[in-house]
Symmetry: C2
Subunit: 421 residues, 2 copies
């Protein structure tokens, strides 16, 4: 008998019929003898609809009140799901994030989970109940106000609950069959990855893969919670995200997966005087407007001019704010020009195997050259290589790398030396 | 500067525009320097829609979960209203019933308020906030589960809050201008009552007047909270429900108002043997199925037969259950027949003045006779006379009494010896 936390997203409880279908699935797990805690999102587009309603009432809704409003969505789906499970001959009880003991910071709209005190949940589990927890929400440690946990909130809640309950694993149910070696809409040969390490999943998420949120994966890694990302439409195995098994690095496939991101723009500050502190001033200014910078590239200054170019990437949505901030610095820093390019894309190959296999960079760059993709910027970590390319070349680059690293067909790539999970 | 509790119903916050309109009204009160607590119902038909959704998911929704679901409605309107008031240049904060300290029994769907511990509300008021409280809900003292307070819940919450906060008065905003001397749709000459005592309002509510719920009036009477029932569409004075001023009984109008109720049915048990205990057995059986009996009439038994007839009225919706229960007793009690009539109506004249004025019963019955209305049953209290008549005669009876007691025109009835409120 296992203790399991399951998370279902809004599309899987979009209406009464879906709720009943999910209830049957949850009941099956409980009837197999497992203890089950379900974290649930709001039905369908409810959160967006509530947001629209708020904007109809107030152009800038007060954050505390917005959280009070938005959390109604998860409350409703949790209650309805509990009703439906009750009809399966089981007992089920729903809890708000607050009742479940999800304690957070006070930042409305983007609260961080500080701790979880799941006393009431444990009591309910011990009574034999299926427990339903409203996702995406908690209670502020300081003010006791209801908070929402920001993007990926329900996934993160599920993993955090799993950790605090000592659950055996956490299942994230979604629309797709698991994590794929590349986005199947771009690389038709992309395959489901049976097992991927936390580190690799972190890189995939940071580099554009949308299947799991960064915060959720980081939480799972820190607390060593095995996460099973799987489809809510089938009973097939999905992708297990877990610790890397000791000593298996040599047997890892070189590349586990490829991610792409077309939400970034590139800013190049041309002709920055090569004086101590100029780069620091530039990036202090950017960080003061709370823009998240991704890749930074600076070459050595040209001997002839004593100047250098600095390029960095950032979310497109922050582009204007960054340009405005930098323009204000032009006089004082004395750079020559400011270039803005939002027609870029980032392509990343991820794999723990690259730590033990030489030549990955060369192979990657060769595949891009063969596909006639020009590389504009390069950034690497121990287990990831990212390149910035023209936005129109992204898909071709993904497919080229997917083929080059043997991910196209089952036979060529040895994903794991051992058997699959 | 006063401390005021205001309650607004669902129709006054049916959409974004209504919410903004109510927000302006509330802001005006706050800006006049008063401390304001607002109890709010769910928007428009939200509660009904949530109920429909529950029934789509489960034919018999678990009561605990139904309360969790339904309370989302008030949560949403409270948050939206707080946002809108915030846009008026004030600070406003919304609270759930639980956060507001509304402690109740554990009966889901019909919880009773045990106590209110409004600590957080008082702090918010002292900070200068307008406080918005989600109506219709509280938290169970025993289980800490969210509960809904049953019919009239928001009105009762408002009055209970007013009592616990030591508020100067409680305003109940509604669709009509106040409490009327009779239902204006039946008696076109009906007028707004400027001031009515708690006792009279209790009788009016018990006898069919729908403007305020019985529980709410009882709470107000017990805690001596002045209640102002007024229209949310105008700024005119409505009806004040308060204690009767000492020593003013002689000056009271004989009749304050007339109520009618067409939701009852009459059951007559014919030929009950006149033995000790038979009536008791009959009414024990009825009460065991939790049917609320209203009027009971039993005449002395006929000397010749040693039997008597017993009639009583009850809600039409309980009719079948009562008939079935009584039929099961037919053998053991030995009555002769069971008659059921759901084409009845109850008409009641209410007024503290009748304690000090003789002849009220005679005047009432004379007016009914003149209108050719036959009286089937009679029931009285110190300040109320009720008659059961044929349902088709109800409206005529109401108008006849309204005229007979001088309520038709401003000039004839001296409502209060002093000036209006």
């Amino acid at each position: 008998m296992a203790r399991v936390v399951q998370k279902f997203g809004g599309s899987s409880v979009a209406d009464a019929d879906s709720i009943k279908r999910v209830a049957k699935r949850i009941a099956t797990t409980r009837q197999a003898g497992h203890e089950v805690v379900v974290v649930i999102s709001a039905m369908g587009d409810t959160t967006d609809e509530l947001m629209d309603l708020a904007l109809e009432v107030s152009p800038q809704p007060a954050p505390r009140e917005l959280d009070m409003l938005l959390t109604s969505g998860e409350r409703m789906s949790a209650a309805l799901l509990a009703m439906a499970i009750g009809d399966q001959g089981l007992t089920a009880r729903s809890f708000t994030g607050s009742q479940a003991g999800v304690i957070t910071t006070g930042t409305h709209g983007n609260a961080r989970i500080i701790d979880i005190t799941p006393g009431r949940i444990v009591s309910a589990l011990e009574s034999g109940d299926v427990v339903i927890v409203a996702g995406f929400q908690g209670v502020s440690q300081d003010t006791k106000d209801i908070t929402t946990i920001g993007r990926g909130g329900s996934d993160t809640t599920a993993v955090a609950l799993a950790a605090s309950l000592g659950a055996d694993y956490c299942e994230i149910y979604t629309d797709v069959d698991g994590v794929f070696t590349a986005d199947p809409r771009i690389a038709p040969n992309a395959r489901r990855i049976p097992k991927i390490s936390y580190e690799e999943m972190l890189e995939m998420a940071a580099c554009g893969a949308k299947i799991l949120h960064l915060r959720c994966v980081e939480y799972a890694r820190r607390e060593h919670v095995p996460v099973h990302v799987r489809s809510s439409f089938t009973t097939q195995e999905g992708t297990w995200v877990t610790d890397l098994e000791e000593g298996t690095e040599m047997e890892q496939a070189i590349i586990s997966g490829i991610a792409q991101d077309t939400n970034e723009a590139k800013i190049t500050i041309v002709g920055v005087p090569d004086r101590v502190g100029e780069a620091a001033r530039i990036f202090e200014a950017i960080s003061s407007i709370e823009v998240n910078i991704d890749m930074i590239v600076q070459n050595v200054s040209a001997v002839s001019t004593g100047r250098t170019d600095i390029s960095f990437t950032l979310p497109k949505t922050d582009g204007k704010a960054a340009i405005d901030t930098l323009n204000a610095l032009k006089e004082s820093v004395g750079f020559e020009d400011l270039l803005y390019d939002d027609q870029i894309g980032k392509v990343s190959v991820v794999g723990v195997g690259m730590r033990s296999h030489p030549g990955v960079t060369a192979k990657f760059f060769a595949s891009l050259a063969d596909a006639e993709v020009n590389i504009e910027m390069i950034s690497t970590s121990e287990i990831r290589i990212s390149v910035v390319v023209d936005q129109d070349d992204v898909n071709r680059a993904v497919r080229a790398a997917h083929t080059a690293f043997g991910l196209d067909t089952e036979g060529e790539a040895v994903v794991y030396a051992g058997t699959g999970r």
